[in-house]
């Protein structure tokens, strides 16, 4: 695996860039591994990377039903942030944000990481109170969140011309989260895959896990795939919205429900917005990509769903509410729309946990899990390697449901 550098770029230019090495190898599928990771998305590949890098466990296979990085890692709105509410959550996401900051160097892969602040546009007093509470908790844990007035907001986001005093929901203030960033989401999957593969991890695409296999003593034995049986003593299910679909094949039910969350992009325009704008009272958020497209997300579809498209009503709601604040966007053409299947527990906090089935681990309930990819992989790898939850993720086990000790984050995500 060659190292990417200015020198390798110049060297490969001599052969017209025809001889770049492949990012990851395609070895044949073996009968047995030490660890199986189901799902080659952000969290699965990050877990494989940290298993190899931090714990020296390299006899690992990542099994993927479709193609690498084709699920929610390709379907998110790339926002990296840590403005959560609870003492248990904030340090975890602060860690994730800091891992993202050094990730391009760690993976030797250009992730086009761009730190650019997120601004919450506040239009109701209950939201203002909620967000100020988060600001104070953020101070305790090193996640910055600071209040700005409406004039400063309009100076920083000139395109925001709506929400004046005569409108339905006048803007009453705003909150800036300085650590927020965006980066190339596909690059995160490719970078982790390349790094894991170079350390000996195998990635098998188009290998669909049909069911989990249990030994006679109840422990996990391996998985049944469309390419035959693969054995392993440890199996991690990292498949976002389809987690329950997989675990129920071994009789394990989990406290999560799956929903559809969708996004869409406009035609590319000149640089217009250099921050991530989140409008929690309207349920719409947007940022501008490097190509100039506005990436716009809305609220989730109301009922449980396993669809990967956007519902017309959700789409219309997001557009109509966005135009209240950004009336000039009326003339933008919208180019593409897509959706993803996300799972969420009713306290909206993720689950990184061993399960009642010895050897079976789950990482689920992420809702928008992109921001958590490095820390999620880091802590899941620790759990798989040592059998003990990492300190940062210790509150996120399934035990919190057993003890009804919930970490209620509803309201700090788009799930409300």
């Amino acid at each position: 695996m060659g190292k990417f550098s200015a020198f390798s770029l110049a060297w490969n230019a001599l052969s017209h860039h025809r001889n770049w090495p492949r990012y990851w190898k395609n070895p044949p599928l073996a009968k047995k591994y030490d660890v199986l990771i189901i799902g080659a998305g952000g969290h699965g590949l990050a877990t494989a990377h940290y298993l190899a890098k931090n714990h020296g466990i390299t006899n690992v296979a990542v099994l993927e039903k479709g193609w690498l990085g084709g699920g929610n890692i390709a379907r998110n709105t790339v926002t990296i942030r840590s403005n959560y509410l609870r003492d248990e959550s904030i340090p975890f996401f602060v860690k994730s944000v800091s891992l993202f900051e050094g990730l391009a160097k760690d993976l030797n892969f250009n992730l086009m990481y761009s730190k650019r602040s997120m601004i919450d546009v506040v239009q109701t007093y209950p939201k203002m109170r909620e967000i100020r509470r988060r600001m104070m908790n953020g101070y305790l844990h090193g996640s910055s969140y600071s209040s700005i007035d409406v004039a400063e907001l309009r100076r920083r986001v000139p395109a925001l011309t709506g929400g004046g005093p005569d409108t339905r929901l006048p803007i009453i203030g705003a909150m800036v989260h300085k650590e927020a960033a965006v980066c190339r989401h596909d690059g995160v999957a490719w970078g982790y895959a390349r790094s894991a593969s170079s350390r000996g991890v195998e990635i098998h695409q188009h290998t669909e896990v049909k069911s989990l296999l249990r030994d006679t003593d109840g422990t996990i034995k391996g998985v049944e795939t469309n390419r035959g049986t693969v054995l392993a003593d440890k199996v991690a299910v990292v498949v976002s919205g389809h987690t329950t679909t997989i675990t129920e094949t071994a009789g394990l039910r989990l406290p999560v429900k799956s929903f559809n969350l969708a996004a869409f992009v406009s035609e590319p325009v000149k640089p217009l917005i250099d921050v991530i704008v989140n409008c929690p009272d309207l349920g719409v958020y947007l940022n501008q990509s490097d190509k100039g497209e506005l990436v716009i997300g809305g609220a989730p579809d109301a009922g449980q769903s396993f669809r990967r498209d956007i519902k017309q009503t959700v789409f219309e709601d997001a557009v109509v509410t966005m135009l209240e604040l950004f009336p000039a966007f009326r003339r933008l053409k919208l180019l593409r729309q897509w959706g993803g299947v996300l799972d969420i527990a009713h306290d909206a906090t993720p689950i990184i946990s061993a399960t009642d089935i010895p050897g079976l681990f789950v990482s689920c309930g992420w809702w928008g899990g992109f921001k958590a990819v490095p820390a999620g992989g880091y802590t899941l790898a620790h759990l798989i390697a040592t059998g003990q939850p990492h300190d940062l993720a210790a509150p996120f086990t399934l035990n919190r449901f057993r003890h009804l000790d919930f970490i209620v984050e509803s309201g700090t995500t788009t799930a409300r």
Partner: protein, 84 residues
């Protein structure tokens, strides 16, 4: 546009309704074990297929009702299997 069958108003636009999640099995009695109780309390059904769920005609007549909806096709049938 998805429409839902309100028992009082008939077929109405889905935007008038609030989803209240999947229905639960009957509440266990006091002799239930801890693990079964936690299971009943926290674990919802999450099928790829029909889910029996509650809806509230919040922006209409206020009626609560139950129906079966497919989580992939959004096909809706009433709980006694009638197509709507």
């Amino acid at each position: 546009m998805l429409t839902l069958p309100c028992p009082f108003c008939g077929q109405r636009d889905e935007t008038e309704f609030a989803n209240a999640g999947p229905t639960k099995p009957p509440r266990p009695d006091a002799k239930v074990t801890d693990s079964d109780w936690i299971d009943w309390l926290t674990v919802p059904v999450n099928p790829i297929g029909y889910v029996e769920e509650k809806w509230w005609h919040a922006k209409g007549c206020g009626k609560w009702f139950t129906l079966n909806r497919h989580t992939v096709t959004h096909d809706v049938t009433t709980t006694d299997g009638q197509s709507t």
